[in-house]
Amino acid sequence: MNTNILILILGMAIVTYIPRAMPAVLIDKMKFTPKAEKFLRLIPYTAMAALIFPGVFSVDSARLEIGIVGGTVAGVLAWKKLPVMVCVLAAIAADFILYLVI
């Protein structure tokens, strides 16, 4: 194994684990007010919104419609409360067909 790559991987592993692990050690020392608690509960929703937009539009940077069609298919099925797995498979299938046809 290349020494530089080994150092790179170990370095990345350390700087990635530290932010993940810090709350595990510190959480018992933290007390949250109701407002702070609500803030923490809202983060999943805002984080997911930010993870989806605008990234979904550049799934294929050369073809905007790939992200739009796949995302819309997943969105409609999710609105109808179908399982996440179905949304994912349908979106992949839709994009696959799109690549095949056009």
Partner: protein, 238 residues
């Protein structure tokens, strides 16, 4: 905290993780193909997935490696991109507060965008350290499996297949997020606000900073107008 027996808690988490396989295996394959093309050996490619377990930063590092970036620069960029896990991990650990620190230290290794999204929108009575460990057993192993498949099969997969898999992660987030919004208009409004905010900020700064900033700012705004009471009761799905 959950009152189910330990085994049941663990396997409820495993079940919740199954959709992530469909998101992680394809992205793992995509990452591994990039890494092999960049000059990483098959072993190095898979070892990075085992040691780091953070897809976006692994892809970024591999991309920087091709451009001849220094090791320090790649590690620093990884640190910045993964700082968001600090917030996510806080939310995750907040739902397993009174459990042993050792368990929390093990569990937080598996905090990713996906495990965080699933765990923090799960019904509160299901949440426990063991549930989370079950969940990340699935996500971690599918990430490693995807990387291994990609590292070995990088030469055989048709381009159309790898291209179609690009939507998988987004479809998963959409599948988790949307059902939470159908009976909470104000939460839906907050999601739209965040989407717009992040789309603008992404034009102005590195996308990892835009993500962190819009997540925090919009959640803070939401505190003043979104009503979360009864949110978990209403989530009869997943």
């Amino acid at each position: 905290m959950s009152n189910k027996n330990p085994k049941a808690q663990y396997f409820t988490g495993v079940r919740a993780g199954i959709p992530v396989i469909l998101g992680f295996v394809p992205v793992g394959i995509a990452y591994a193909i990039m890494a092999r093309q960049a000059g990483f050996s098959a072993f190095e490619t898979v070892f990075m997935s085992i040691a780091v377990f953070a897809g976006a930063s692994q892809m970024m590092a591999v991309g920087m490696y091709v451009q001849g970036a220094s090791i320090i620069a790649m590690i620093l960029a990884t640190f910045i991109l993964n700082l968001r896990h600090l917030i996510m991990s806080t939310c995750v650990v907040n739902r397993m507060k009174n459990e042993p620190t050792k368990r929390k230290l093990l569990a937080t290794f598996g905090v990713t965008d996906e495990s965080f999204a699933i765990f923090t929108t799960e019904k509160k009575e299901n949440c426990s350290g063991l549930y989370f460990l079950g969940l990340i057993t699935v996500t971690y192993s599918s990430w490693i499996a995807g990387s291994a498949i990609g590292a070995i099969a990088s030469d055989f997969l048709p381009a159309i297949v790898t291209a179609s898999l690009g939507i998988a992660l987004y479809a998963m987030f959409i599948g988790i997020l949307i059902p939470n919004l159908t009976h909470n208009l104000k939460l839906g409004l907050l999601v739209v606000l965040t989407a717009v905010c992040n789309s603008i900020l992404t034009q102005l700064m590195a996308s990892s900073w835009a993500l962190i900033l819009s997540t925090l700012v919009c959640a803070a705004i939401g505190v003043f107008f979104v009503d979360l009471d009864g949110q978990e009761v209403a989530d009869d799905e997943h």
